[in-house]
């Protein structure tokens, strides 16, 4: 198996090649890389690939992580919630 076709974001099936070529082409931040490729936007909310997406953006020199900020925002729910529980009317 070739390095280029290896999957980085499992939920959205985004490959290493897609991420690296997008980062190279647009010289983008981790956030832009996420929005362009959908890496980190799937079911798990980026729990698996978040650090890898950040590292790819960093390796292009386009995403120097700011000292005081996490480059990819964390949003609730941070764990998958079933539709049953999401829609339940609280007692």
């Amino acid at each position: 198996m070739n390095e280029n076709v290896m999957i980085i974001c499992r939920c959205e099936e985004v490959t290493y090649h897609e991420l690296v070529s997008t980062a190279t082409k647009y010289k983008c931040s981790a956030r832009e890389l996420k929005l362009r490729t959908r890496a980190g936007m799937g079911y798990c909310g980026g729990r698996t690939c978040r650090t890898m997406v950040e590292k790819i953006a960093q390796s292009m020199g386009t995403n120097t992580p700011t000292e005081t900020n996490i480059s990819l925002k964390v949003q609730p729910p941070i764990r998958p919630v079933s539709f049953e529980n999401l829609g339940r009317i609280s007692k």
Binding site: M1, T51, M52, I56, S59, M60, E67, V74, R79
Partner: protein, 410 residues
């Protein structure tokens, strides 16, 4: 409504829960896992004094103590959001919503992934998963494995797998790419191992540190590093080889390794196959800070602590009133340091909820954190002390500017 809620039942969370309960607070502990202990559960190693550190037993003791003090537990429960409303912290879970004025985030750490072609095949797991399977569930992850990533965590777990009778074909590096940059560079890997020389639990580290004290020798060391690696508990450690692919039709059947130069470049034509039925990926640990981020806590990137950590004081307070942190969320260290921090956090929470007369105790507890750190068996970053000082300095700066601001507003 609870006087205190603690998210995470590892060494930090459990010790904090016990401390809160001892001081009369009613406490709820929430954890995603099915039982108490967190990463402590999987730990099993021989300490420098010859005694064994058995994480399963330690976890059970802490849990039993907490239960006897009336601490409530919700296991198999993930927290999916927290927020502050009407001066109370609101904790959202699938089992219901909970409220408190004293919330402790003791969520620990997560493992950094290192992608290798074929890493999505069944049979590939993080090294921490192999540890949990082996030491907690007593299930062998396979008959013969390869560990990708040579670091403190993976060398300790390799030893534990060896003790459990699982053969490890070798510990080796991942092929360098845009993600595995440091992890795939032999010089950098050796460098990070050398600094933890006092870590008596790993002959790997003793080997390195004795031979290779300065940069010149180290450079020689990596160039003359034995092509066959060296052995630790009969397990070859290869710093001059890297896994370029994990292969298998429907599951792991083995890995392809290649020789690499001192800078991590692959030597063409040097590929060979190693059969294995499981593969562990060891990319190291980073603080699991999602909840602190949702709460709006300020962060600082401190490499020595393993990544972005929430701003906190030596009393384990964050700048957000009623929000505390303890354990690996504040930086990657061993379980004993985490527990010591948990005690400090528990006392700080008791003080915040109005309990008087704990000033001497919390000062003593803060000293204990330092002492525990100095005598730790396991150190994940050589410059941990630098990282800790950095955060404390940032805390002082933030407090001073807050006071100035308040004085200005009169």
């Amino acid at each position: 409504m609870f006087k205190a809620i603690i998210i995470g039942s590892g060494p930090a969370g459990l010790t904090a829960a016990i401390t809160c309960a001892e001081n009369g607070l009613d406490v709820l502990v929430i954890d995603e896992y099915m039982s108490a202990g967190g990463r402590l559960l999987g730990q099993l190693y021989e300490q420098p004094d010859g005694s064994w550190w058995n994480g399963l037993r330690e976890s059970k003791n802490l849990y039993t103590t907490a239960i006897s003090l009336g601490v409530k537990f919700h296991f198999n429960t993930s927290v999916n959001n927290i927020e502050k409303r009407n001066n109370r912290w609101v904790v959202y879970t699938e089992k219901g919503t909970f409220y408190t004025e004293n919330l402790l985030l003791a969520t620990g750490a997560a493992e950094s992934p290192v992608p290798v072609p074929g890493w999505t095949l069944p049979g590939v797991m993080s090294v921490g998963a192999a540890q949990v399977m082996t030491n907690v569930h007593r299930v062998k992850p396979g008959k013969r494995g390869v560990i990708i990533g040579v670091n403190v965590l993976s060398s300790v777990i390799a030893m534990e797998l060896h003790l459990a009778g699982v053969e490890i074909a070798c510990l080796t590096l991942p092929k360098m790419n845009s993600i595995a940059n440091k992890e795939g560079n032999p010089s950098q890997v050796l460098d990070s191992l050398l600094h933890v020389s006092h870590m008596a639990t790993s002959p790997l580290i003793r080997y390195g540190s004795k031979l290779l004290k300065n940069d010149f020798i180290k450079n020689l060391g990596i160039h003359f590093y034995p092509k066959k690696g060296f052995k630790m508990w009969n397990t070859p450690i290869q710093l001059r080889k890297a896994v370029i692919e994990i292969y298998g039709k429907d599951e792991v059947e083995g890995v392809v390794v290649a020789a690499i130069k001192a800078n991590g470049e692959v030597v063409p034509g040097s590929e060979e196959r190693i059969q294995a039925d499981f593969v562990c990926i060891a990319g190291g640990l980073y603080p699991l800070v999602e909840l602190a981020a949702l709460a709006g806590c300020p962060f600082f990137l401190v490499e020595e602590l393993g990544g972005h950590v929430p701003l906190h004081s030596e009393k384990m307070e964050t700048p957000l009133e009623g929000l505390f942190v303890a354990g690996n969320i504040t930086g990657i260290e061993g379980a004993k340091v985490a527990a010591a921090q948990g005690r400090t956090a528990g006392l700080a929470m008791a003080i915040h909820s109005g309990i008087k007369g704990l000033d001497t105790e919390i000062r003593h507890s803060m000293d204990m954190v330092k002492q525990t750190r100095e005598s730790a068996d396991i150190q994940f970053h050589p410059e941990i002390e630098v990282g800790r000082k950095r955060i404390l300095r940032e805390w002082e700066i933030s407090q001073t500017s807050k006071q100035n601001h308040e004085a200005l507003m009169g």
